[in-house]
């Protein structure tokens, strides 16, 4: 029983992994790619690892740790990459509608007095 | 097909080594040369793993009962690779530190311009 559930969960995860990769492949600029990459691959990895934990119940706890680790770290790295892209001057897609960060030029300066 | 499968890993390792050597021979940027050296290291590590690999066998860790001694790959190259990797890291770190110093002194990373010592 748990085998079937496990493989289903795993399958959903793999599908999301694939979608994430596809998004990274298709989307027009780095920020949009990150959007796709972060969300889909995080969930995808999470689900497939949990799925594996369900398939092999004795592994579950360890799988959980890996999955949670990914869940916690992936947004951080996505954020760091987005910020780095922005700071290193990667332009938004030219069809982007708004860039508050541009108005928010104190981004950098404000950081100084930020604790 | 199986021929290519047999040779693939050797081609990868030999190729990495040769690419690394090519970089060392031709590239003038110090950082690139250091990266070239790393290519060579990596190629050798793959070579070692290739040598230790036996088709259809598993890692030599008897962590559960079902694994028979006749069914594991050679543990020695893995141990060697572990050592080789650490040594590679050590050399890489030292190389970078020296490159930093060289850059501070010469204000360039181009080896054709760093020729204070010759003849």
């Amino acid at each position: 029983m748990n085998q079937i559930i496990g493989y289903i969960v795993m399958g959903v995860g793999v599908a999301f992994l694939f979608l994430g990769a596809l998004g990274v492949f298709r989307f027009p600029d780095v920020y949009n790619r990150l959007q796709a990459g972060t969300k889909c691959t995080t969930l995808g990895a999470f689900l497939s690892i949990i799925g594996a934990g369900i398939v092999e119940p004795t592994w579950f706890l360890k799988c959980l740790i890996i999955a949670v680790f990914i869940l916690f770290t992936n947004p951080i790295s996505a954020h760091a990459l987005a910020r780095a892209s922005y700071k290193s001057g990667v332009k938004l897609w030219d069809k982007s509608v708004v860039d508050k960060c541009k108005d928010f030029e104190e981004c950098a300066k404000a950081q100084e007095d930020d604790k | 097909m199986s021929g290519i499968y047999n040779w693939m890993y050797y081609i990868a390792s030999g190729g990495l080594i040769l690419i690394g050597l090519y970089i060392v021979l031709v590239k003038t940027n110090l950082i690139k040369i250091v990266i070239g050296l790393n290519f060579i290291d990596t190629g050798i590590n793959i070579l070692l793993i290739c040598i230790g690999y036996v088709r259809g066998r598993t890692a030599p860790i008897f962590s559960r009962p079902g694994i028979s001694p006749a069914n594991v790959v050679d543990p020695v190259p893995q141990a060697l690779v572990l050592t080789a990797i650490v040594i590679g890291v050590a050399v890489l770190a030292l190389a970078l530190s020296i490159v930093i110093k060289v850059y501070q002194h010469n204000k360039t990373l181009n080896v054709t311009k760093i020729k204070g010592l010759k003849w």
Partner: protein
């Protein structure tokens, strides 16, 4: 019987413990290498008579040889270890007051580890372990060459590192191939199996190995790192590099050719390579005005002579080569130490600026003179015996090609004589310009130089002190079945 593992364990432990001693007092650090190497010298001297009676094969970890890393302490090993620890000890004493550039604690650690690496290379019976110790030696040399952190030192270290890394990679490729073929890493075990393998395969492995070790051995055309590194390193390190480090490269090449592969066919080529190295080294040295670079090129020449002698491959030839290793190690260490302190006092590396130091630094100049004379091969110094033996060995093989070789080699020594005599004259017979305030050194600097001078003269006058050991060592290199027997005999 003292366990030879201590020869490696002791300096290693002392090197690791230098920061701990640093807690007690900042000043202790510089004495630690001296203590460690004193112990090593003691051990090796205790070992010599025992080993000459019966070579020792010491397992590390307690399993029997082919399944375990083991040390093979034969006459060759004990000879080289004695040389390494003795020269190391003297240089360590010298460094006590010579090394002033911070961080001295790290210098002494690296130095001791370099010596450990050299010791491991000559003792180990396992080819991959040889590689590991080789890397220990190389990496600590890279760091030490750059130790002064000046423009020259870092540039030299960088070039050395690039070439050395390529060399180590080749060694590792060779080892990988050998393991792939024989499934073992024990040198004796490999040696006992080589006949079963395809000769082309074997030669390709050998080619990688000797190219790799040849770089450290500074055989032409693999020696471009040497003049840079030797001339830019702190002089104590130049002494070690010239006196010890390149010898371990030669050891590596010799071990591969003689013991493992039994590659008789390549020996004449090796001798030719040695000759070429000799010629190029001496020619390049001739026009140098940088004293350390001159000494460095001279080291290339001398290593050429050593390799040439080893390529003769008779017991006398190998004996002569080993003798040359001793006499060159003593003389070149002495020269670098003496030159190092002169440079330190005068503040310039140019030979011209050393003019007139004979009066200002009589002992140092005297030491330098003795070193040069020995290198040129003048009696009654150690270099004479080795030069004589080399010529004797080359003529004794009665092959016309070697006659030609030895004539060329002798002509090269004329070039060598030319530039060394010039430097000596500079010291004594030329008016110095900026040497008025220069004074002779004392203490830790002068003691090792005096000891080296004495050993050069004593060995020159009474070579029998070491000939027995060297004969044994030559026998070990040429008698590979004996070597295999020591290691695998029991199993």
């Amino acid at each position: 019987m003292v366990n030879p593992s201590l020869l490696i364990a002791v300096p290693l432990a002392f090197a690791f413990s230098i920061p701990l001693f640093g807690l007690v007092s900042k000043k202790i650090g510089k004495y630690i290498p001296v203590v460690a190497l004193l112990i090593n010298v003691g051990i090796s001297f205790i070992l010599i008579p025992q080993i000459l009676k019966k070579p020792a094969v010491v397992s590390i970890g307690g399993w029997s040889p082919p399944f375990c890393i083991n040390l093979v302490v034969g006459p060759l090993g004990v000879f080289l270890v004695t040389l390494i620890s003795s020269i190391g000890l003297l240089v360590a004493i010298y460094a006590i007051s010579y090394i002033k550039e911070e961080p001295t604690e790290k210098y002494h650690m690296l130095f001791l580890l370099l010596i450990t690496g050299a010791t491991g290379i000559v003792l180990t019976g396992d080819i991959f372990n040889l590689f590991v110790f080789f890397e220990i030696l190389c990496i600590s040399s890279y760091a030490l060459v750059a130790y002064n952190k000046d423009k020259e030192g870092t540039e030299a270290a960088m070039k050395y590192l690039i070439q050395g890394s390529v060399g180590s990679s080749f060694v590792l490729i060779g080892i990988a191939l050998l393991y792939g073929m024989f499934g073992t890493l024990n040198m004796a075990d490999i040696a006992s199996r080589v006949t079963s393998a395809d000769p082309t395969f074997l030669f390709i492995s050998l080619a990688f190995l000797i190219t790799g070790f040849g770089i450290e051995a500074a055989v032409f055309p693999l020696n471009a790192w040497l003049p840079d590194a030797h001339s830019s390193a702190p002089s104590s390190i130049s002494a070690i590099l010239s006196g010890i480090a390149i010898k371990t490269g030669v050891y590596g090449v010799a071990r591969m050719i003689y013991t493992i592969f039994n590659a008789d066919g390549i020996l004449t080529f090796i001798a030719f390579l040695g000759l070429l190295t000799l010629l190029i080294g001496e020619m390049s040295a001739f026009r140098q005005n940088d004293i350390k670079r001159l000494l460095a090129y001279s080291s290339i020449g001398q290593i050429g002579l050593i390799v040439f002698a080893l390529g003769i491959a008779t017991s006398l030839g190998v004996f002569a080569g080993l003798f040359q290793i001793v006499s060159h190690a003593l003389a070149k260490a002495l020269l670098f130490l003496a030159a190092g302190y002169m440079i330190y006092r005068v503040g310039s590396k140019s030979i011209d600026s050393l003019s007139g130091l004979g009066r200002k630094m009589p002992l140092t100049s005297f030491a330098f003179t003795i070193g040069s004379f020995s290198l040129i091969g003048l009696p009654p110094f150690a270099g004479f015996i080795s030069k004589f033996s080399i010529v004797y060995a080359a003529i004794q093989v009665k092959k016309p090609i070697f006659l030609v070789f030895v004539v060329i080699a002798l002509i090269a020594t004329v070039i060598e004589a030319g530039y060394f005599f010039k430097v000596v004259q500079n010291l004594y017979f030329k008016e110095g310009k900026n040497v008025d305030n220069v004074t002779e050194t004392s203490g830790y600097i002068i003691v090792p130089m005096i000891i080296l001078v004495i050993s050069i003269i004593v060995i020159g006058i009474h070579p029998q002190f070491i000939t027995g050991l060297l004969k044994g060592a030559a026998g070990e290199l040429l008698g590979r079945t004996g070597y295999i027997g020591w290691v695998l005999g029991g199993s």
